[in-house]
C-alpha cells in the first residue's frame, strides 16, 4: 500500500469503500480503467485491499483525501486537469463514467445506473473530527496541546476549569459540533460576564457547554439563560459574590423542553436528566471560567449550595388550565422561554391532609414564611413548585395561577407587631416602626408559582431566593424568550 499522498493534479481519481455495494459493483470497471494507459488512482476509505487488481490503490482510512475532495458519496469519480477538478460523477452511471474516462465499452455488463452510498467522511461526527484534524476550525480560543501521556480530564482540573466534577474535555471537534446548535456567529459577543466583566462570545459559550456535557440542541437554552443572567436586574455579580447561598436557577418553558428531553416530572429538581443537569452547569461554568467567579476568590458564599453546580428544570405545561410561568411573565403562549431566578436549594412542604384550597394555601404560606427567616419580610423572592397532587386541590376548586398567588400573598401578610425585631423574643425582624402595619412577606413580584413534579406526592417545594434581593426594586427574576 502506498501512503496517502497529495491528490494527482491530472488524471482520473475514484474514491470508494468496500462496504458499499455500488463500489463493489464497479470493482471490475476500476480494474478495466486501471489497465489502460491513462490509469486511475483509487482512494479506499475502509479496506486497503479493495479494490483488488488495480495498480494504484491508496489507503485513505484517515479520510484525509476524502475530506480534501469533499466526498459525500461513494463511488465518486473525478477527472483532474491542470490541478483543477474538471468533472465529477457520483454513484455509478455508465454513460457518465464512459464519457469522463473516455473508455467507450466501460461497464457494458453492469446496469446502466446504480446510486452510491454515503462517504465515511460525512458519517455522524466524522465531519467535525476531520475538520479538526485536516481543516481550518476557525476556533479563536487559545489552543492547548495535551501530551499523549497526559489525561485530558486531569488537565482540565489542573487548569482550574472544573467546578469540582470532571468536565468533558473541550476538543475542537466537540466545539465545532456544539456550534452547530446555534445559527449565531461564533465571534458574536453575548455580553460581559461578571465579576471580571469579560466579553463572552458564542464560541466561548460553546466551549463551556461542551465541558458541562451539553448536546448542541441545548445551545439556544444556554444562550437565553446566559443573556437573562447578564441582564442588569438579575444582579449576577451580586449573587455570585454574596455570602448567601444563591445561584442562578433556570426554569424553562415552551415546546423546546419536550424537544430536548427536559424533565418536568418525577425528580424534576433532582439528578438524572442530561438537559436539566448540563444546561444549568454550563451557565455556572461560564460564570466560573469566563467571568472568573470562583469560590474562595470573588465567590464569598458562606456555605454555597448544590445549586452552584447546576439548577435547571422545566415547567409541567401538560394541563391546559394552567398558565405557564413564562406566559404569566409576558411571553407569548407557545413560545420558548427561560426564567432566571436567584435561587437556593429545595425546601419541601409535606401536607397530606389539606383537602380545600384555603387549607392548602394556609399550609403552603406557613412554609413560605420561613424563607430567609420567619421574621424577615420583603427581602427575598421565592419560587413555589406545586406538585400535581397539590395542584389538583386548587384545580378542582377552579383556582388558577392568579387566584393562588393572591391567596398566598394574603396568607403571608402579617401584623407588623408579630414580625418586628424583638417580637416573640427573636432579635431578627423588620424595623420596629412597622409594628402598626400589615407587612407582606414578599415584594410585589416576589412569589413565582411553577408546576412540576411526579404524579404521586402531596408535596410542594420552596426554592428560596436571595436575601440580597432586599433591594427588590433593583434585583428581579428575569424571563427571556429563547430564540432558536
Amino acid at each position: 500500500m502506498k501512503p496517502v499522498s497529495s491528490i494527482p493534479p491530472d488524471g482520473l481519481i475514484a474514491v470508494v469503500k468496500e462496504d458499499c455495494p455500488t463500489c463493489r459493483l464497479v470493482e471490475p470497471v476500476l480494474q478495466q480503467i486501471g489497465s489502460t494507459k491513462r490509469g486511475i488512482v483509487v482512494y479506499t476509505q475502509d479496506d486497503p485491499t479493495f479494490p483488488c487488481d488495480v495498480p494504484q490503490v491508496i489507503d485513505d482510512r484517515t479520510l484525509n483525501t476524502s475530506f480534501d475532495l469533499e466526498i459525500e458519496t461513494v463511488p465518486t469519480l473525478i477527472r483532474h486537469e491542470n490541478g483543477q477538478e474538471a468533472e465529477r460523477v457520483v454513484g455509478w452511471n455508465r454513460a457518465d463514467w464512459q464519457r469522463v474516462t473516455a473508455v467507450a465499452d466501460l461497464g457494458e455488463e453492469l446496469p446502466a445506473h446504480q446510486p452510491g452510498c454515503g462517504s465515511r467522511s460525512i458519517e455522524p461526527d466524522a465531519t467535525y473530527k476531520l475538520r479538526a484534524r485536516f481543516g481550518d476550525t476557525g476556533i479563536r480560543a487559545r489552543r492547548i496541546q495535551v501530551d499523549q501521556f497526559e489525561d485530558e480530564i486531569e488537565t482540565c482540573f489542573d487548569r482550574g476549569w472544573s467546578d469540582g466534577l470532571p468536565v468533558v474535555p473541550p476538543t475542537p471537534e466537540r466545539i465545532l459540533r456544539m456550534l452547530e446548535g446555534t445559527s449565531r456567529a461564533p465571534d458574536e459577543i453575548v455580553g460581559q460576564v461578571p465579576p471580571d466583566l469579560a466579553p463572552c462570545t458564542i464560541e466561548r459559550v460553546a466551549i463551556n457547554a461542551v465541558m458541562a456535557g451539553c448536546l448542541p440542541e441545548y445551545m439556544p437554552v444556554v444562550l437565553a439563560a446566559l443573556e437573562a443572567a447578564l441582564e442588569p436586574n438579575f444582579t449576577l455579580h451580586g449573587i455570585l459574590c454574596s455570602t448567601c447561598f444563591t445561584a442562578p436557577l433556570i426554569i424553562v418553558n415552551g415546546p423546546i423542553t419536550e424537544k430536548i428531553g427536559m424533565n418536568s416530572s418525577l425528580n424534576a429538581l433532582g439528578q438524572g436528566n442530561r438537559a436539566n443537569a448540563t444546561i444549568g452547569r454550563a451557565l455556572n461554568l461560564i460564570v466560573r471560567n469566563v467571568g472568573g467567579g470562583r469560590p474562595g476568590e470573588i465567590d464569598r458564599s458562606t456555605f454555597g449550595a448544590p445549586s452552584k453546580y447546576t439548577f435547571c428544570f422545566a415547567e409541567d405545561e401538560s394541563d391546559p388550565e394552567w398558565q405557564p410561568l413564562s406566559v404569566a411573565r409576558g411571553v407569548t403562549s407557545g413560545a420558548n422561554a427561560v426564567t432566571l431566578f436567584q435561587g437556593e436549594g429545595v425546601q419541601g412542604i409535606l401536607d397530606q391532609r389539606s383537602r380545600t384550597p384555603r387549607e392548602l394555601t394556609r399550609s403552603l404560606a406557613a412554609g413560605l414564611l420561613a424563607v430567609c427567616h420567619p421574621h424577615i419580610c420583603e427581602w427575598a423572592h421565592a419560587v413555589l413548585v406545586i406538585s400535581p397532587e397539590h395542584y389538583s386541590i386548587f384545580r378542582a376548586a377552579g383556582w388558577d395561577r392568579d387566584r393562588i398567588t393572591d391567596a398566598l400573598f394574603e396568607a403571608t401578610t402579617r401584623n407588623g407587631e408579630d414580625v418586628v425585631q424583638g417580637a416573640g423574643g427573636i432579635a431578627e425582624g423588620v424595623p420596629k416602626n412597622r409594628a402598626g402595619e400589615m407587612v407582606p412577606k414578599f415584594p410585589p413580584d416576589g412569589l413565582l408559582l411553577v408546576r412540576a413534579g411526579g404524579q404521586a406526592g402531596l408535596y410542594s417545594a420552596i426554592l428560596a431566593g436571595w436575601p440580597g434581593g432586599r433591594a427588590y426594586k433593583e434585583s428581579h427574576p428575569i424571563t427571556r424568550e429563547i430564540i432558536e
Binding site: 487559545r142 476538543t171 469579560a198 463572552c200 471560567n289
Partner: protein
Amino acid sequence: MNVESTVLHDPTSEFAPVNQPRRRPPTSLKGKIVALQDIGKLRSDEFLDYIEEDLNRRGIKTLRTAKPTNAKRAPVEILQKIEKEADVVVQALAD
C-alpha cells in the same frame, strides 16, 4: 513515529496566562518552615545538609523529606506532608 496529542481550547476569558503563575516567593523566611526535599539522587543529601545547617543557624526551622527514587514522582503522602507542615520547599538536585 507519529506522536499523537490532544488539542483543547481554553474556556476562560484568557485574561490570565495559559500556565498557572508560580506562587510568589516569601519576602522573608522568618517564622517559616522550609521543607528540604531529597529527590533521591546521589549526594543530594549532602547539599541539603549544608542548606539545613545554614538555615538552622539563622533560626529557621526545617523539615526533611525524601523521594524514594528520583525516577518517579513524589508519593502523595510526601506531598501532603509538605503541604501541611511546611511553607517553602527546597528540592535538591544531584551534583
